[in-house]
């Protein structure tokens, strides 16, 4: 039985460190102030999806792994210098904003179109991975919409674990309330998994993996086409940062109850 998979990971980039970002209105719609000046990393949720995908691909010889990213290609190039060292994959770059304001339907449509146009992609082996949320958006719907566009009906969100059973079916653990997991059995590909954190550690940096990856990444980045995302789907009205201002200090040997009382006072202050 051929258990090789064709895994496509959808992964955006987000500013790091996360902070109070300031939206601004521009001629092309809402954007983040100083967006191109903010250091960026691969979206942490999607990173977990990538690590899980790389792990799964390594268990199934003959598998192929793609990472599809809609992000400004100059920023993506910088992010890839780090990510490329962690796992072998093929990059498909879509030159698009990554500020979190793009309409999820429009992003999903572009991602689905790109996935469908991957040469040699075998739908019967297709697994679409991504983060079940995004560190910059938090809407948690993009992956679901990608699945719908691709007519993939087996969808799982908040996934922490995927186990391949002896008959090729999957046992999938999805997060539910109360710190528990919903256990599902899926017959196998095609399926879409929106990952939570998973259980795997971040892969070690390996320069040989990185060198091999970057030989194909740079041409992919150079070929990246600008995505025509509608900029009138979202209108930025206002933003209100938290009232409380950060007041961190180090305390030692203080009872937790006292800390809790003080925290409560701080949270509820005017």
């Amino acid at each position: 039985m051929n258990n090789a998979y064709h895994i496509v990971v959808c992964a955006g980039i987000v500013p790091d460190p996360l902070q109070t970002l300031e939206p601004v209105s521009t001629a092309t719609g809402p954007a983040l102030k100083n967006e191109m000046m903010l250091p960026a990393v691969l979206d942490p949720w999607a990173s977990h999806a990538l690590y899980e995908a790389a792990h799964l691909a390594a268990q199934a010889p003959g598998s192929r792994l793609w990472l599809v990213s809609a992000a400004p290609k100059a920023k993506l190039q910088q992010v890839m210098m780090n990510v490329a060292q962690k796992a072998s994959f093929e990059l498909i770059s879509i030159d698009a904003p990554a500020n979190g304001f793009a309409d999820a339907h429009a992003v999903a449509e572009i991602l689905a179109q790109v996935i469908q146009s991957i040469p040699g992609l075998d739908r019967s082996r297709l697994l679409v991975f991504g983060g079940w949320e995004s560190a910059s958006r938090g809407a948690g719907v993009t992956m679901q919409l990608v699945g719908e566009q691709l007519a993939i009906t087996d969808q799982f969100q908040g996934v922490d674990q995927l186990t391949v059973r002896s008959d090729g079916s999957f046992e999938i653990l999805e997060r539910i309330e109360g710190g528990r997991h919903l256990v599902s059995i899926c017959q196998g590909p095609p399926a879409l998994l929106g990952w939570a954190t998973g259980n795997l550690p971040e892969p070690k940096n390996n320069p040989q993996v990185g060198m091999a990856n970057m030989r194909t990444f740079m041409p992919a980045l150079q070929k990246a086409k600008a995505a025509a995302l509608p900029h009138d789907a979202v209108r930025y009205l206002s933003v209100a940062p938290p009232k409380q201002q950060r007041q961190t200090r180090i305390v030692k040997d203080r009872p937790a109850d006292e800390i809790a009382v003080e925290l409560l006072q701080w949270i509820t202050q005017d």
Partner: protein, 627 residues
């Protein structure tokens, strides 16, 4: 032939493990301005127009030179750094380029040198300085009569940055990395700390990457992956003044006779978003002296988009054993001359960095068999002009030109060949000519700030013909006894009590001393005036990826136990070093911003020169929120 890595400070050699190996033509360490200059120049010459190799690899025949650069931090240009530079070398590398396309870059428009008086009366001014201050106030030279400052009528020529650029070094480095990596012919790897050079009998044959999958003490743990050995015909060392590779090369080969690296400074900076009516124009450059202490120099550079970099330098010759940077920086912001502009601003980013201020006197061997040194770690900083970025960049360009010459002539990277090409270029350049003028310009600071300023002026005006011929003391002598420093302000018995209280509480001493000396409490506003810990959270985020060993190690515990006050604790920019059990400092790498202050501030010396801190190659570090 087998290669070894030096293990200074270790009692026993670590057990041998099998390591992956790979071979490249050129292995670089550290991605900063020097490496930017090197790779920019080299990458443009690796291929012919038809795509065939112009400079052919020896490890992959038929291919262009295989060039890899490893950077410790897990992003390129993630650290904060506002800089002003004349940008002569940088402009020469990018003729016709409009630098304002780089975020936060703007031409220098206005430059001032400002003497800040002490509006609080808490600084450690000598009687002579106090009298001079009094005269200045009396003569009405104070700007606006209320801002406690004197704008000097001109900026000395040797300090001027006219025609230069105000930059964010983080943004500049990111821009350069985009240029050099988009060509696809060189590879730059962030998140890849290099633990040591691979040293053969009389040269360097590559680098060893840091082990991954280890415990904090470096012992193997789950997923142990020994650091790869990357063998290279040429190792380009550009890992800065506290970089592990450069320092280990120095420890192995020594420094040229008469040279030393004892002068340092800690630079701590913030990027501030100014209020709409701050009154500061983009391109404004302020150099300040006199406050918060006479020994502390400061700066304010104004970027476009209402952003400003503001910071201070704490030099090693500021002989207070409880010197700190963060609180002094806050008092600096609050000085009336600056606060009138900064009030209402918001902290966007924060960070710190050690600067090697020995300059030419600290120059190591610039080249040896299989290796070459560029950038700040090679002593390129001009300590008279207060300029390092452009000089570092230019040394990188010079090495790249030398490499091109040698490869074209099919000559190996021997010490002799590198000296005839790289070192010769450097010696014939403006970088060397100006560093020669600057070499002894700061000698006077060993005797006091006024003497130092006079010495700088004399050396600058006479272009190095005259200078203060003072001996430079070893770093261990640079911090004098607490009791002597504060003899006129705090009785010894009270100092003793403060020490004991802080030791019992496990806290640093500097805040208590500053309170006692009359420094006012900082009025936190949650925006710009924030606690030290908040600066770590609001100004950035320390990345400490798991699976790497601690990069700060206290070598001999007994030396730390007997060391008081612990300057490593007082000076730690991220409060990552605290008083630990048994008198040995504790290190928390999740707070370490990799400034390296602990390295050169350590006074617990075993041999009178080298401190008791081993500062290794650490992954991660500070991601500034807006760099």
């Amino acid at each position: 032939m087998s290669a070894s890595v030096p293990t200074p400070g270790a009692d026993e050699a670590p057990p041998a493990v099998e390591r992956q190996q790979m071979s490249v033509d050129i292995a670089g360490v550290g991605f900063g301005p020097a490496m930017g200059g090197f790779l920019t120049t080299l990458s443009r010459n690796l291929l012919n127009e038809d795509g065939s190799p112009r400079l052919e690899s020896t490890v992959s025949p038929g291919m262009p030179l295989q060039v890899i650069c490893c950077e410790r931090a897990d992003g390129l240009g993630f650290g904060v750094s506002g800089a002003v530079t004349r940008a002569r070398g940088i402009r020469a590398s990018f003729p016709g380029v409009d630098f304002t396309q780089i975020p936060m870059a703007v031409p220098v428009a206005k430059e001032k040198l400002v003497y800040l008086l002490d509006p609080i009366g808490a600084s450690r001014r000598s009687l002579a300085m106090r009298m001079a201050d009094w005269k200045m106030r009396a003569l009405g030279l104070i700007v606006g009569g209320r801002d406690h400052a004197v704008e000097l009528p001109f900026t000395p020529k040797f300090m001027r940055k006219h025609g230069g650029l105000v930059l964010s070094l983080g943004q500049f480095n990111q821009w350069v990395s985009e240029q050099v990596t988009s060509s696809g012919v060189v590879q730059v790897w962030p998140g890849m700390p290099v633990s040591a050079p691979l040293i053969e009998e009389n040269g360097v044959c590559g680098i060893r990457l840091a082990d991954q999958g280890v415990n904090l003490d470096g012992t193997p743990s789950q997923g142990f992956m020994p650091g790869m050995d990357i063998r290279a015909g040429l190792t380009v060392v550009a890992d800065g003044p506290v970089g592990a590779v450069g320092r280990k090369i120095d420890e192995h080969f020594g420094l040229p006779e008469g040279n030393h690296q004892r002068e340092w400074a800690l630079g701590m900076k913030m990027v501030v978003e100014l209020r709409e009516d701050s009154g500061l124009e983009a391109g404004t450059v302020l150099h300040t002296l006199g406050f918060p202490e006479p020994e502390i120099f400061g700066f304010l550079y104004v970027h476009p988009e209402r952003l400003a970099s503001v910071g201070i330098f704490i030099p090693s010759w500021f002989r207070s054993p409880v010197r700190t940077a963060y609180r002094y920086l806050q008092h600096y912001l609050l000085h009336p001359y600056l606060w009138r502009h900064l009030q209402g601003g918001v902290l966007k980013s924060w960070g710190a960095k050690s600067l090697q201020e020995s300059g030419r006197i600290g120059e190591p061997f610039l080249a040896g068999h299989g290796y070459a040194r560029i950038g700040e770690g090679s002593g390129s900083t001009n300590v008279l002009a207060g300029s390092g970025v452009d000089e570092a960049w230019t040394t990188g360009v010079q090495l790249a030109e030398a490499v091109i010459e040698l490869v074209e002539q099919k000559k190996p990277f021997t010490q002799e060949n590198l000296e005839q090409t790289y070192v010769r270029r450097r010696r014939q350049s403006w970088v060397d000519a100006e560093s020669e003028i600057a070499a002894d310009s700061r000698n006077g600071f060993q005797e006091g700030v006024v003497t130092g300023l006079i010495g700088m002026a004399v050396a600058g005006i006479t272009r190095g013909a005259f200078f203060m011929p003072r001996p430079v003391r070893p770093v261990q002598e640079s911090a004098s006894a607490l009791e002597r420093i504060y003899a006129s302000r705090i009785p010894p018995s009270e100092l003793k009590q403060l020490r004991e209280e802080c030791a019992a509480q496990g806290s640093a001493l500097h805040d208590r001393i500053m309170d006692r000396c009359g420094w006012l409490e900082i009025p936190f506003d949650g925006r710009l005036l924030i606690s030290h810990q908040d600066a770590l959270l609001m100004g950035g985020s320390v990345q400490a990826p798991p699976g790497y060993a601690d990069h700060v190690v206290f070598i001999r515990r007994e030396l730390c136990q007997n060391c008081e006050p612990k300057l490593c604790v007082e000076m730690c920019s991220g409060q990552a070093i605290t008083r630990g059990e048994g008198g040995v400092p504790a290190f928390d790498r999740e707070k370490c911003v990799y400034c390296g202050a602990c390295l050169w501030n350590c006074r617990a010396s075993a041999d009178g020169e080298k401190g008791n801190v081993e500062f290794g190659a650490g992954a991660g570090g500070l991601h500034s929120a807006l760099n």
